[in-house]
């Protein structure tokens, strides 16, 4: 504990030595000395500035009026005269609200598809016995070796031949039932002890009844995890909608934002307002559901 907590040479070192040392011996390892605590908080704050600072700077830029110099050498984090003008300007420049609506539609389809498709398949693979199950599982596992980018071109050819190029359904369709989520739901159903299920089987319950009454109440955690992942994944995605969508009317938020900064404006305030419109909803979703989120990550719901 010494190296890091030793104050730099010249710093006043009056409080230290005897008292904390005695305390440490008294309550054992794990109780932290005050100086270590302070150092930890200082480092945590530093990391906070690095990780969250850029977002705060962007938010601040988006609130600065046309009269305020945003280029000053000494950065002003608090706008001198906060205004929502830039948010108005961005809606006048590109149909940002309809882009947000498009993103929301795509995300809703992804959430619904994955919640239903992965739950049904996960249950069947975990709890029902039938021929072909092993083959199915092997194929699902095999698809995980393919990074999405490898098949993105032929995926586009498929969507085009279904007549869905340049549509939101075309954007949502390929990942509407993701194989990884099928595996995650299967793992969740497998964690339910067979004894719970057997009682239902003996009572003559159908597969459907077992899924509704025994299965679902026990997999709610994983179900919320895959829906959060599906929502964030769809909302944030850029490459795939960029390939599928051509008419600017149909753009999702991410594609629209890139379009805004590429073709319409170089005003950082307006671009900042646009990025905040894309960023804030996802932060709200994340902040309210983060409990499930981290639990899911700990359970191994890690996307490669």
């Amino acid at each position: 504990m010494t190296q890091l907590t030793t104050p730099p040479a010249g710093a006043p070192a009056k409080t230290p030595a005897s008292a904390p040392k005695r305390r440490r011996r008294g309550s054992g390892f794990g109780t932290m000395r005050r100086r270590e605590k302070l150092l930890r908080y200082a480092l945590l704050l530093l990391a906070l500035v690095v990780t969250v600072g850029p977002f705060v700077w962007q938010l601040s830029t988006s609130l600065k009026g046309a009269g305020e110099n945003i280029y000053t050498l000494t950065p002003q984090f608090i706008p001198s005269d906060p205004t929502f003008d830039n948010y108005l300007r961005v809606t006048e420049t590109i149909p940002v609200l309809s882009y947000a609506k498009n993103s929301l539609i795509v995300a809703a389809m992804a959430v619904a598809g994955n919640a239903v498709g992965a739950t049904l398949a996960g249950f069947a693979l975990a709890k029902l016995h039938f021929r072909g199950r092993t083959l199915f599982l092997a194929l699902v596992l095999g698809t995980l070796v393919l990074p999405g980018e490898v098949t993105i071109i032929s995926q586009y050819v498929t969507v085009r031949s279904l007549g869905l190029a340049d549509t939101l359904v075309g954007v949502a369709l390929p990942t509407a039932v993701a194989m990884l989520n099928v595996l995650l739901m299967r793992a969740a159903f497998m964690a339910i002890p067979d004894e719970m299920d057997e009682a239902a089987v003996i009572d003559g319950a159908s597969a459907w009844q077992r899924l509704i009454h025994v299965g679902l109440p026990n997999v709610r955690g994983m179900l919320s995890v895959i829906t959060i992942f599906a929502f964030i994944g769809a909302w944030d995605d850029f490459l795939w909608p960029l390939i599928v969508l051509t008419d600017p009317q149909n753009y999702t938020l991410t594609v629209g934002l890139q379009y805004l900064s590429g073709a319409f404006t170089s005003n950082p305030r307006v671009i900042a307002a646009g990025t905040m419109i894309a960023f804030i909803p996802i932060v709200i979703v994340f902040a309210t559901l983060q409990r499930f989120f981290f639990r899911g990550v700990e359970e191994g719901a890690i996307k490669g």
């Binding site: 049904l120 098949t151 050819v157 590429g262």
Partner: protein, 290 residues
């Protein structure tokens, strides 16, 4: 006991089966087929043999892209192997307010790469925050053009990837740290090992397997990089298209009248060949962990 009809499992499996066949297996097969054609984004195309692969051999842009990928990987690897681990060590102790910090550190991960890249564009421009601060503090006498020039653009994109990845790998490390023996830490402390010493001789060996997992994940995602480079270069791929990645090339050939889906598919196969090793290793590591 057999109350289930033979088709019940297949009814439940239906949607997943359709998606497995139509949106996973068929695209994999069709990528191979397309790679031997001259298919165009607007339709059509005929068999052209190995023409696309011959073209790859003489494609300067492809060489740039592959070199960029290697540089990307080599710079990202050490940074994303250790910085997130340090963050995780910092979050490990249950201090008051630690949940807030954990959530905050994770924010860059959930933000869209487009949003982050646009923020970066603003931070790194000639009169942006980074150049301003660097000049204030005396690190620079004149602004550094982060967003022009092949290598500066590449390193700007790498810094973005690293920043955005910190929280992601931090969480992976955090769950692994729970398994590092407390007794070992205590014993080392009793023997007089300082925190830095204990980090190297207790923590790092304790999360060895996780470090392997992280390095494979970092490798694969460095090879798949797209959005960072696309947005920072405004879709151009930098001066002379030299700051492109393989995926950016694939995307470039996917659109418009000059597009060439056949060549894009051949490039996709190349991406597959490069990533399949790490991906198989990843699958193995994940199954071992589960």
């Amino acid at each position: 006991m057999k109350t289930q009809r033979w088709f019940t499992p297949w009814l439940l499996l239906g949607p997943a089966l359709v998606w497995l066949l139509v949106f996973n297996l068929w695209p994999a097969i069709n990528t191979v087929v397309l790679a031997f054609t001259n298919a165009k984004p607007l339709g059509g195309g005929s068999f052209t043999g190995v023409a696309n692969f011959e073209r790859m051999l003489n494609d300067d842009q492809l060489v740039y892209a592959l070199v960029n990928s290697i540089v990307y990987m080599l710079v990202c690897l050490p940074l994303l192997l250790f910085l997130p681990l340090l963050l995780a060590v910092l979050l490990e102790k249950k201090l008051p307010g630690i949940t807030f910090f954990r959530t905050a550190f994770y924010t860059p991960v959930i933000a869209s790469a487009v949003v982050v890249a646009l923020i970066w564009t603003w931070l790194l421009e000639d009169r942006g925050l980074v150049n301003g601060l660097a000049q204030q503090l005396g690190f620079l006498t004149e602004p550094l053009p982060f967003l022009s020039g092949r290598w500066l653009l590449l390193f700007s994109a790498i810094s973005l990837t690293v920043w955005k990845g910190l929280g992601y790998y931090m969480i992976i490390y955090l769950s692994a740290l729970g398994n590092v023996s407390r007794q070992l830490h205590e014993a080392a402390a009793v023997d007089g090992a300082g925190p830095i010493r204990r980090f190297w001789s207790v923590t790092v060996p304790g999360v060895r397997t996780t470090m392997l997992l992280v390095s494979v994940l970092v490798t694969v995602s460095a090879l798949r990089v797209f959005t960072e480079l696309f947005v920072l270069t405004n879709g151009t791929g930098g001066p002379g298209g030299r700051t492109m990645s393989l995926v950016m090339l694939i995307q470039m050939y996917s659109r418009g009248f000059t597009g060439h889906l056949g060549y894009a598919s051949a490039l996709s196969l190349l991406l597959f060949v490069i990533t399949v090793g790490p991906m198989l290793l990843l699958l193995r590591l994940n199954r071992k962990a589960a």
